[in-house]
Symmetry: C2
Subunit: 180 residues, 2 copies
């Protein structure tokens, strides 16, 4: 059987060492019997209009997701209390395509705890389900047969710590490879 | 032809007057030839385990999205610089299902401007495409044949102002109804 292709979703692409992180994630995929696909594997040609470059990047990401059999997503808080919204779009895309999503976050606390700590609740309702973020996000991982991996990284390694990532690959291997 | 069903995505469900906002959105849908479906139209029975209630809510949202032909999403910043992540999941879900998504935000500035104003860039790359948020979000609306509506509401009406919502319905009517 060819190795299942894993779409490596997450805000990792915005890191200064994004390419290095992508390479490391792919190595770990290999070790767990998967073939990792990182969004930066393919970049559109330079386009003079920024919006056109963005739309071409979107097309590539969609093409990559269609070519993958599953996703492992970095669900860590990004520029606020919640996960990266681009990654959230990809969660929904993969799930609607009938593909499982596994995920990890380098934050330990429940969503409600983080919202209260950041004092951003306002007078709006705050979900209190013991989930890492909005219910749409965690439900996809649970319905995929996984559980969201929460890990506390060393200070300064909030984006580069891949302990949770590796645990997701183990979950994915158990759900996909051992059942086939 | 039966009226197309519009999934009313957005963090509106967390508002203290969520039901009222949902009813108002449905009225506006009627006026534009659509049938609005609001996530709170159906609520799971009380379940003693919070996670089970959340998963049942997820199932209902998925069922509703499957029953709709398009979505109109509230893309306004929610508890930070970016849009609500649950809504972002729904954008991806609808798009993967081949359904158009229209959207509005009650913030006028580009994503990059908001990130810099909030001082949350860190040393990570900030997308600079003239988009309202992450490229995955805006690209879906553009590929649907619409354009993200940005509107500056009166102070205190950041969540309740429906000017942009109504403009999305006009866009949707033009793309869907007039082409059929």
């Amino acid at each position: 059987m060819p190795r299942p292709k894993v779409y490596l979703a997450g805000p990792d692409v915005f890191l200064p060492n994004a390419v290095e992180i992508g390479a490391r994630k792919k190595e770990l995929c290999e070790q767990h019997g998967f073939n990792g696909v990182f969004p930066l594997d393919e970049i559109p040609p330079p386009l003079s209009v920024p919006a056109e470059f963005a739309l071409a990047t979107f097309d590539i990401c969609v093409k990559m997701m269609r070519a993958c059999q599953l996703a492992v997503a970095n669900l860590s808080p990004f520029r606020g209390v919640s996960m990266d919204v681009g990654t959230a779009v990809e969660l929904g895309f993969m799930w609607a395509s009938g593909k499982p999503v596994f995920g990890y976050t380098n934050a330990q606390e429940d969503y409600k705890v983080r919202v209260e700590a950041a004092n951003v609740a306002g007078d709006l309702d705050v979900e209190d389900f013991g989930f890492f973020d909005n219910l749409m996000c965690e439900s996809i991982v649970r319905n995929s047969g996984g559980s969201v991996v929460r890990h506390t990284p060393a200070r300064g390694r909030e984006f580069s710590d891949l302990t949770g990532f590796e645990e997701c690959l183990a979950q994915a291997a158990q759900v996909l490879l051992e059942s086939s």
